[in-house]
Symmetry: none
Subunit: 205 residues, 4 copies
Amino acid sequence: MDDAADRRLTARGEERRRQIIEVATRLFAEKGYHPTSVADVVDAVGVGKGVFYWYFSSKEALLTEILRDGQLARRRHQRDAIAGIDDPVEQLERGIRAGMEWMAEHRDVITLIRFAATEERFAPGIRKGEDVAADDAAVALRRAIAEGRIPDGDPDLLARAVVGVTQHLCAARIHADPSADPQPVIDAAVRFCIGGILGLPAPAA
Amino acid sequence: MDDAADRRLTARGEERRRQIIEVATRLFAEKGYHPTSVADVVDAVGVGKGVFYWYFSSKEALLTEILRDGQLARRRHQRDAIAGIDDPVEQLERGIRAGMEWMAEHRDVITLIRFAATEERFAPGIRKGEDVAADDAAVALRRAIAEGRIPDGDPDLLARAVVGVTQHLCAARIHADPSADPQPVIDAAVRFCIGGILGLPAPAA
Amino acid sequence: MDDAADRRLTARGEERRRQIIEVATRLFAEKGYHPTSVADVVDAVGVGKGVFYWYFSSKEALLTEILRDGQLARRRHQRDAIAGIDDPVEQLERGIRAGMEWMAEHRDVITLIRFAATEERFAPGIRKGEDVAADDAAVALRRAIAEGRIPDGDPDLLARAVVGVTQHLCAARIHADPSADPQPVIDAAVRFCIGGILGLPAPAA
Amino acid sequence: MDDAADRRLTARGEERRRQIIEVATRLFAEKGYHPTSVADVVDAVGVGKGVFYWYFSSKEALLTEILRDGQLARRRHQRDAIAGIDDPVEQLERGIRAGMEWMAEHRDVITLIRFAATEERFAPGIRKGEDVAADDAAVALRRAIAEGRIPDGDPDLLARAVVGVTQHLCAARIHADPSADPQPVIDAAVRFCIGGILGLPAPAA
DNA sequence: TATGAATGAGGATTCATTCAT
DNA sequence: TATGAATGAATCCTCATTCAT
């Protein structure tokens, strides 16, 4: 049988597909991936059960696609934000802001990524995406170190620390209270991260 | 029937119960909570299915207990580490170290907590535990601010940032390569966190 | 809507129809009738699903047609082979040869007939076809008995035995090794059948 | 999870298992393997759906077991029938009789074997069983040839021809009219087979 | 004629939970 | 306490068939 993945779709088909992804992302994030059945998704969309399998080869494939698209979109958003910027420290700051802004606006996808990181079947994909993100940040960090702008240190580790700060603040402070303005949190996250990268002030003087 | 939760157990019974918790923690972390069936657990323990329901009222109750025990144990470990310490900044450092050490040694529990945070049914419990942890750290932070040891700032936000750094570094650097020595990562995490708390050096000076 | 069965077709339509029958015969024989979906068939042909239902009213109707066509073709082939032959024993021999040759060249159809004979829904049709074939042979057998060319016996039973020998040798020896020359098997089948029809040599002598 | 295949069963469990096999054999033969759902089977037995999977790992595994058991039983029945017989021709005759008697009494299993031979997934197992049966017969045939009791010839081919005769006569004459006495058919089958093995009388004479 | 899309009943299978012994 | 057996609702997925375009 033809694979649902490589189907050539009409405009109407593309729209349906997008709609399913949207609804599924919301439901998966709300109730959890496993507790949400394919029936829940198609019911919410208002179509027959077969439609799901016309567009996706399996429930798992759908989640995988959501995750991959999310990671790609975040990365693209961050790269756009630092395009044309030459100063590595400014790149870091703008990258952190862009990352948090994206995450702030894509709460559901972030929830799914955090879930997927804990499940054997999806973890490898997530890890790969995180590695890429860490590598992106590490490039700027290495340049900043080389230029003496920040103290010497393990760029990968610093990058992971930054990811930890931004992700957790997003979940614990922005998503936890969606009515509040995210900017102060983002500002604080930037200050914390830059401070953390600079590390302890020279113990002397 | 009497509730499995409040059963008075013999020594052998306590042992069985502990064994089930241990095996379930490992399996849940390895395959995921939902993909692991009660049958998987009892088979791994080598007992019949009835045993499970003798000690636990449901699969969900078991996970809830694992999560609560884990959060309590981490907190106890951290409080023990700062007992008798009076300097708030040293409290912070020791708390961070103790937290990471505990997390480093309880990878499976951490995985489950991270999973539970993404699922509606368990998230409230996790959030409560994180709030407590953040409050613990906030106490020290508030004192440090009051004593002028660190710049003024939102203590809760700083606490959350610290949690983010430590949790993520643990997952991304310690658990990802269990053969490596965790101490350098912990040291770096402490430096990053203290640096982050101190924030950007006074722009002037 | 007008019935797909009685549709007046253009030359191109006839060709399409034939093509679907051909592909379906192969797929049904390879994977089995039930495990082969209509989607499998139209995909293999390279057309849309609607095409199938333009030419056939249902999947079942398609199989029924394949079976009926197959049984008719075999019978026609056998009748052609004995046309003009007057000696009943020679008719038998030629009929056996013709039947086996046809079966040897239509492995897929034979597989489908053998399958259909085991399934309630199709068995009656198959049985009717086999009855006809047995009757055909019985005619010659009866003449041969009447003329004293072969011993007295139940012509229908002898005919069924011949069908059993030819069908099974075809499946077990010719179809099982399509690269081998079928002629020796056919020769042996003829000898076996004629021997069988003659039965045990008079115990006396 | 423990495999349903290797489960240690209590007496009651063994009985249930046997009961399911019995009912499934009948239903599969009546309606066809694919058209019969697991629900049909458990409903006919009068148990819950889960019971099926407690005893069998899948619907396919159940059919495979039925087929294997059937082939083994027939072989055992035939071997018992010729135990102690030394004359190869008598072995053949008794083997043919025993085989047909067994088939006559196990119509459903025979139907399933005939079905399975036409489906890719099961055919290899069936073929193996038929090869064994043919080999069994070939042993006697080879001895008979060596002793000059029957003309020289391909023992495997003769064996297959015998299988074809017996199987087909069973289906077309015994199973088709279960009220009739099978003995005359069996007698005729023996005569036909022995005659077939002896082949055409020496053309000279 | 032909296609992509849709339908929804039905299928195999799983699994948390219960119960008789 | 413990076990094998049983339950049956729920899950993912398939597929023959239909329909709008």
